[in-house]
């Protein structure tokens, strides 16, 4: 369903098209959000409280996860999951060279060492052959990432993990709604995560995240770690702050205000994913074959047994920076996911990688441009983005 855009603009200028906007749907959800917020205020515990517990149950229902632990960000979810899944100081974790920084920084923050491997030529997933070649005697885990709109090759990567006795931990921060063989992303190995960063497919009104797992001991450890390592019941239980500290933990508690917003938004998640698919198809139908557009997301079918959920609509384009500047001049915001692959980020300079080490990751970064895609985006804004994109390459709209 289309929604009316909320933005106003100065007369004469083109209507700005933000990269992300959920104001209209937030308004549509307001009655539900207000009801949940009233519950939070009535309850009086504002983090790690009853509304967070309720959200965990709703998410378990929606994803089919046996255990969901809601936390304060996708990044902390990864750190806690890695630790709970048994990462020991000095252990190596194989991660794709192309991802958001948290894929690799979480490994460092959990005490491990990220080892980069290249992605597949198409589809942004960790390449099983490259992962296999990166295994050493110190490798403990392998972390596939489900980026943008599709899952990584879990079959191929699972085979690598089995061959070498590695634990699979999924960075499924972007992957809510993605399933393979009927099993939700994050539940194919020791566990996975969700991010509820506002622009995510299920987004809050601030930072938030969750750990998903089918393993009770992983869930129990994450529960302790997110509340300062305290044992016993702390969720929705204030006096639990004086429970014995069993392991050195962190403060990764989720705010109940976030849980309130997320619960309201969860009621339309299926419809929101459907709207995202409509918009993705609309983009691809217009942009396929436009000179300068090397690839559209829909040209690659979803992996066998899995579905596609369009969180980010990432094009591969020529002359990317000039195109982004042209679109910005027309009031159209875009994002580059990601301008630098992980192995060339300044914070990993000590690992000694050089350009050319992971050609597919480097090529993907050089040509990547994400265009606006979110349920509140009207069809005509998609058309305008496409018009401007085409004008940039051909000098005229089709």
């Amino acid at each position: 369903m289309q929604k009316t855009p909320s933005a106003t603009h100065s007369p004469g200028a083109p209507v700005p098209i933000p990269f992300f906007d959920q104001a209209a749907s937030f308004q549509d959800h307001w009655e539900g959000i207000r009801k949940h917020l009233d519950d939070v205020l009535d309850n009086g515990k504002f983090s790690h409280g009853a509304k967070v517990a309720e959200l965990e149950d709703r998410l378990a229902d929606w994803t089919g996860a046996r255990h969901v632990v809601a936390v304060n960000s996708g990044t902390d979810a990864l750190i806690l999951l890695l630790r709970a899944a048994g990462l020991e100081p000095g252990d190596e974790v194989i991660v794709p060279a192309h991802s958001f920084i948290a894929t690799a920084s979480s490994v460092v923050l959990a005490g491990g060492i990220p080892v980069f491997a290249d992605i597949e030529e198409h589809g942004h997933g960790l390449d099983p052959r490259a992962a296999d070649a990166a295994v050493t005697a110190r490798t403990r885990m392998i972390m596939p990432v489900h980026l943008f709109d599709r899952m990584a090759d879990l079959r191929g990567l699972g085979a690598v993990a089995r061959r070498h006795g590695l634990t699979v931990v999924e960075d499924s921060a972007e992957a809510i709604g993605m399933r393979m063989d009927g099993v939700h992303a994050g539940l194919h190995g020791a566990g996975g995560v969700l991010s509820f960063f506002p622009a995510k497919t299920l987004g809050g009104i601030g930072d938030g995240g969750a750990v998903l797992t089918g393993d009770e001991s992983v869930a129990e450890t994450v529960r302790m770690l997110c509340h300062h390592g305290r044992g016993g019941r702390t969720l929705d239980n204030f006096p639990g702050i004086s429970n014995p500290t069993v392991v050195p933990g962190r403060n990764s508690k989720m705010d109940d205000v976030q849980a309130a917003v997320l619960q309201a938004k969860l009621t339309t998640l299926d419809a929101d994913i459907g709207r995202r698919a409509e918009l993705a198809e609309r983009y691809d139908a217009r942009l396929r074959g436009v000179p300068g557009v090397r690839d559209v997301p829909g040209s690659l079918p979803p992996r066998r047994g899995s579905n596609r959920v369009s969180y980010v609509h990432l094009l591969q384009v020529e002359d990317r920076d000039a195109l982004a500047a042209h679109l910005a001049a027309q009031g159209i915001e875009t994002e580059i996911y990601y301008p630098i692959p992980l192995h060339l980020q300044p914070c990993f300079a000590h690992l000694g990688h050089r350009p050319g080490d992971f050609p597919h990751a480097e090529a993907a970064c050089a040509a990547a441009l994400a265009v606006p895609l979110y349920p509140d985006l009207p069809d005509e804004h998609v058309d305008r983005v496409c018009d401007e994109l085409e004008r940039f390459y051909t000098g005229r709209p089709r």
Partner: protein
Amino acid sequence: MTAPSITTIPFFSPELFERDRDVLLGIVHAVGTGRDQKFILGERTARLERALAARIGAGDAVACSSGTSALTLILAAMDVGPGDEVVVPAFGCAPLAATVIDAGARPVFADIDPVRLTADPAAAESLITPRTRVLMPAHMFSVMADMPAFRELADRRGVRLIEDSALAQGGTLRGRPAGRWGDAGLYSFVQVKTFGMPGEGGVVITDDDRLAADVRMLRNHGQDGVRRFVHHRIGHNSRFDEVMAAFQLHRLAGLEDRLARRAEISAYYSRRFAPLAERGLIAPPEGGDGRFHYVYTVLTDHRDALDAHLAAHGVTAHVYYPRPLPAQPAFAPYAQPGGTWPNAESAARRTISLPLYPNLTDAQVEHIADTVCAFTDVHGGTR
């Protein structure tokens, strides 16, 4: 004694923000539907940081996801890591040790002063080795640590000083606000704190521009705030939500009044309890320099009996830190072998905290004081 005509008084008030219910709802709606669609580390957060820094005359204030995370960011900004030692109190909250371990360093536990219940500077000095990078005293309950002594010690021995002022917002010592004695300090805003809010959050306080810049970078994945997705350092996700920033900006105006109400209740307790010292119940003194009124804690050998007595009379008390940090299963492996912390162990056996929050009524406060006094009529004289 007749049953009190008063419903149970909780230790953790569920109504801290009742008067601001509509304000919070309004802020969530405004941020959710706002034209800028900015939810994290936006203009509201920047305004809150400026207001907090100005309030205490600090060079900078950097908002982050919690008080715990503030400690983690400060330690990271100081490059504390493997091989380093950090001297922390043997009595206090888990993050004092956990953040040090998380940084890859080793916590070294110093016994506490038996009256202040904060780290003893002499004990801390005796633990300094060539590996010591940081001293990390913490203010406790309602009493600031001996910061002049720690400042002098840190300067003399050439180590850094982190002032864990997570719970001490509003306190001053020799005219210097809590959080401004260390190279860096911090406040926690978790709901029960003196400037608590309906969510998790904290702030780093420092006059050191470079440290502040490093903390800003480290709180947001090592980005410099100019170019997205370029990560200069291994950073955290420790950001501040705009909803909470707007709420704190709204609540800042009432902070002095709430601090004054806390101080008033605390002073009343201390006046009522001063005579109980000879009966074995030790309460903090009324007022004095270096005080703040976060948690009101008394010491008694009959702690569990007092807890039960209070509960029987409709008052919920709470025992913070029933064991010293080196005795927690998580931290015992890091404790100095053979170390003893007699004052910390004594405090862990004897502390019990009474309700203290601005929305307590006078009648509730009197009932709590009466109940404690009545207890010593029965259990007094056995000190």
